[in-house]
């Protein structure tokens, strides 16, 4: 129903109407709709930024030509974790709901996609169907999840993760139970996606679109309402935010993108079993968000890199120190130690570190330039 208020909200602002009463101090407050458009835009608008992004895009597109299959497959895992982390970020970072059930959503998505493909669906269709199904599950559990918060939500979500894992294990006709399920070969509308490089391009595309959506959420009323729920529910309600609606959307979207990650993960390792979607993965994803930089999209990517690279690094280091095999317990101690060090020195995570680094370089080159801040605004 298009009422008068809709009309008012949608017609472009009349600069003259805004300027009424501004005459005394026009220099500060003259409306600048061009600037507003730039500020809500997503594309880079300075030549330097456009150049940076173009170089970045070319590097990403050339990676399969440069990297060997091993490192490229590691990059694929970075992309998958980025996707998973983004889904979790919508719930945890944007909306402030501490849930450790994200592995369950990934599991539902992975199994649903595999199952749908076995039924004869094309991959794109199975992929989307799995995501919508998982999203519906997420939205449905928002009902009970809305009744609890904080630690109770944490425990309840943990229980949900256990239940899903058990269900996958017991529902043998669909999931293969403990024997697991192997994935069919990927093809995109008849075009076979064979080899790590082809997988990489597919994942990159999904991640790019998903990050764009995550960014859109942040700059739209939806993201503001989510942040409002996170920061003060009572104020959010008084501003007209329907808390139940926002939490349902947050759980649903989080599960939706979790399913994306799960389905791609399944295709990356080509074999799935219930133990892959346990609490360990849920916890890893939370660690990833915190280490990467709570609240920022760039931090998720950094966190995903951390999650993939650190075990590699430890392999390398431990091999240097011991010729007779790994000393027992060395790996968890080193991993834990590294985490503690990152958190101690940079509570804003790797993204915070990057911002600080950039600021230092930036101010050295241009003395007196304003400090680049606000990177954590989520």
């Amino acid at each position: 129903m298009a009422d008068a208020r809709t009309e008012a909200a949608e017609t472009a602002p009349d600069p003259a109407a805004i300027a009424v009463g501004v005459a005394e101090r026009p220099a500060i407050d003259a409306p600048d709709t061009a600037l507003w458009k730039t500020e809500i835009g997503v594309l880079p608008h300075t030549p330097a930024a456009i150049l940076r992004w173009a170089v970045f895009a070319i590097v990403l597109l050339l990676l399969p030509q440069v990297l060997g299959p091993y490192w490229l497959s590691q990059i694929n895992y970075v992309l998958i974790y980025t996707l998973a982390g983004m889904g979790l970020q919508i719930l945890l970072g944007y909306t402030g709901q501490i849930s450790i059930a994200h592995a369950a959503f990934m599991g539902i998505g992975a199994y649903a996609c595999a199952y749908f493909e076995r039924l004869g669906m094309d991959f794109p269709l199975a992929f989307l169907a799995a995501a919508f199904l998982t999203g519906a599950v997420g939205a449905a559990i928002a009902g009970p999840a809305r009744r609890v918060s904080g630690l109770s939500l944490l425990v309840a979500s943990m229980a949900f993760n256990f239940i899903v894992q058990q269900a996958i294990e017991r529902w043998t006709p669909v999931t293969g139970g403990d024997n697991g399920l192997s994935l069919l070969d990927l093809d995109l509308f008849g075009l076979p996606i064979k080899g790590i490089g082809a997988h990489y391009y597919l994942y990159l595309g999904v991640v790019a679109v998903s990050l764009w959506v995550a960014f859109n959420i942040l700059r739209s009323p939806l993201g503001r309402a989510m942040n409002a729920v996170r920061d003060s529910e009572v104020a959010a309600r008084s501003m007209g935010v329907d808390i139940a609606r926002i939490k349902t959307i947050a759980f649903g979207l989080s599960a939706f993108f979790g399913a994306f990650a799960g389905a791609l993960y399944a295709h990356q390792i080509t074999f799935i079993s219930p133990d892959q979607f346990g609490l360990q993965l849920s916890l890893d994803l939370i660690v990833m968000l915190v280490v990467g930089g709570a609240g920022s999209l760039a931090g998720i990517v950094l966190g995903a890199i951390f999650l993939v690279v650190v075990p590699e690094l430890l392999d390398y280091v431990l091999a240097l120190f011991s010729s007779t095999g790994e000393p027992p317990g060395a790996r968890p101690i080193l991993e834990g130690g590294l985490l503690i060090i990152v958190m101690l020195f940079e509570p804003w995570g790797l993204y915070g570190l990057w911002l600080r680094l950039k600021r230092r370089l930036f101010t050295r080159r241009r003395a007196g330039a304003p400090a680049a801040g606000g990177g954590h605004a989520a």
Partner: protein, 251 residues
């Protein structure tokens, strides 16, 4: 009458926080509620803005019974408010906080938001224009992109007032606009309230301790003690009421 409150009561356990309060506020009026700590002033706000459910009584807004309406719908009907202890969204800029005030005017669905369709873009620009008016009115231009968490307390109170104004409410509930402010900032706050009144067709209910501010801005005053109405009338009449004097100064 814009707002009619009849025999409103709320009990927390055995405590009668609000006990049979009735009053009515006319459109365009500035109506103040005064009283000692614990008299039930903020509780009345929480009842009107539908954060609390009353145990008894009735609240009507623009002729509609809103006694059982959810809080977010009360906001959408045109009731805006501020909080005694400032409930801003600390992680966001001033601009973002003010834009949240436009939530009640949102016409886009979450799917449109996620895809940032042209309709969302147009709506964002219209919201921005609305918010810029508030920024101009409250002289917040310098702080537009500042993080709210880093602003001094007095300024945060002004931002919160701005966020409520961005809702373009028909009824604005101001919960102790002067609390935590020094006398100079309190005077500034009184000026803002007068200015808003001159520029916008908004009705206000103000809960306040500072009698100078009350006298400066109010058309009518309601004095409360222990959840009950002591006196109602013009600021001067209420201040002169023997019962009010006794409640404020003791026997």
């Amino acid at each position: 009458m814009l707002l009619e409150v009849a025999d409103l009561a709320v009990h927390f356990g055995g405590v009668k926080a609000v006990d049979g309060v009735s009053f009515a506020v006319e459109a365009g009026e500035v109506f103040s509620i005064i009283g000692p700590n614990g008299a039930g002033k903020t509780t009345i706000f929480n009842l009107i803005s539908r954060i609390y459910d009353p145990s008894a009584g009735r609240i009507a807004f623009k002729g509609e019974d809103i006694t059982a309406l959810p809080a977010h719908l009360a906001a959408q009907r045109g009731i805006g408010r501020t909080f005694q202890n400032v409930e801003l969204f600390a992680g966001g800029s001033v601009l973002k906080n003010l834009l949240l005030g436009c939530e009640v005017h949102r016409r886009t669905s979450f799917v449109e938001d996620m895809l940032f369709l042209p309709r969302v873009r147009r709506q964002e620009l219209a919201f921005r224009a609305r918010v810029e008016e508030v920024i101009e009115l409250l002289d917040l231009g310098r702080y537009r992109h500042a993080m709210v968490g880093g602003l001094p307390y007095g300024l945060r109170k002004v931002v919160e007032l701005g966020r409520a104004l961005a809702m373009q409410p028909d009824l604005l509930l101001l919960d102790e606009p002067s609390s935590g402010l020094n006398s100079r900032d309190t005077e500034i706050m009184a000026d803002w309230i007068q200015e808003i009144r001159r520029r916008r067709p908004v009705t206000m209910i103000v809960v306040e301790h500072d009698m100078n501010l009350v006298a400066a801005v109010s058309d009518r005053v309601l004095a409360l003690e222990a959840g009950r109405v002591l006196a109602q009338g013009t600021a001067a009449a209420v201040q002169a009421d023997p019962q009010v004097i006794r409640a404020y100064l003791g026997e």
